[in-house]
Symmetry: C2
């Protein structure tokens, strides 16, 4: 064999890794195959030895990145937390200034959700399966059952919406205000209700 057997898989993974960053930073459509392959240290022709088409790369990027998002939401130091304590810690991480400023390394939902909504069913299917998986794990942390599931959906929705809004309003104060307000939602004691 002319190359070591792990050579091609490594290149494949490198393209996916580079694409996942560029797609989130600049958008899927706005990221050309040419620029993408250059960023991975290759030339455009080689792309089609790795992927049927550009949509297939979007699918693989989303799979990879949504798995990372799940890990960021539930693991990496949050593994032992449950209920409100977990929600507070996860909100603090998700709704951070760093996450707002760094879409390239962040959650793909605010960055690519609208493009996924316009993408072929093959993309949406993979996306939906991963989101459902994340919601299931969140629900378990929140006590399970239909109440846990509902709360998981409510939390994820408000986090995604807040990050999207905070980024779209630009660098100004309003962005940070939005993040802070939604972070505060998870913070007990809920003064509005307790006195």
């Amino acid at each position: 064999m002319p190359y070591p057997p792990d050579h091609k898989p490594k290149t494949h993974a490198r393209i996916v890794r580079v694409a996942a960053r560029l797609f989130r930073k600049d958008g899927f459509q706005a990221t050309g195959v040419d620029r993408l392959m250059s960023a991975a240290g290759l030339t455009r022709g080689g792309f089609y030895a790795h992927f049927r088409d550009k949509t297939q790369l979007l699918i693989e990027s989303l799979e990879r990145v949504l798995d990372e998002s799940q890990e960021n939401l539930l693991g990496r130091g949050l593994d032992a937390l449950e209920g409100d304590a977990w929600a507070r810690a996860a909100a603090k991480r998700y709704l951070s200034s760093a996450h707002r400023a760094g879409p390239a390394d962040g959650c793909p939902v605010p960055a690519l959700g609208a493009e996924v909504a316009r993408a072929p069913a093959s993309v949406q299917k993979v996306f939906a399966a991963r989101i459902d998986g994340i919601l299931r794990q969140m629900a378990a942390r929140l006590g399970g059952g239909t109440a846990g599931r509902r709360r998981a959906i409510q939390l994820l929705s408000s986090w995604v919406g807040a990050l999207l809004l905070a980024r779209a309003v630009g660098e100004r104060r309003l962005g940070e205000e939005i993040l802070a307000a939604v972070r505060a939602q998870a913070n007990p004691p809920r003064r509005r209700r307790t006195h």
Copy 2:
């Protein structure tokens, strides 16, 4: 004067109206000037007699559409409502199946937020001003003060996020489940807290 004085402004408004629909449906970048002008019954060359560049059209479209969104959230039958009653009614409208299925006529935030986040500051400035205006009006309906403002941000974030997620997961059951769960958040009595 060779044309009636309201001829050009009418054409201008028609282009903005058509653009606002196409941008939300297909995305800003993905909507070419050619296709846009055809849809308005014109040819591409005339575009630059109305707008400095394509970005200027995005700005005018966002202004128009965000004003409509404000009206949909606070007016059109919801004018007399306040507090939880208003929140419930607005959530029902915003988180409807019709809104999920019809981005072309809906809120620009889930549809274009990610592109606004990548757009020039001139776009973000207009977007931020309109969002702030909407939040101010929502806050007033919710009792005002910092608590009203915070609640307004929390509600808008969760609605935007829910709609984005519901669209991105495709036509399947999960999308409707997401809308229903976030709609339920505004519904008293909050059983989890009251018994």
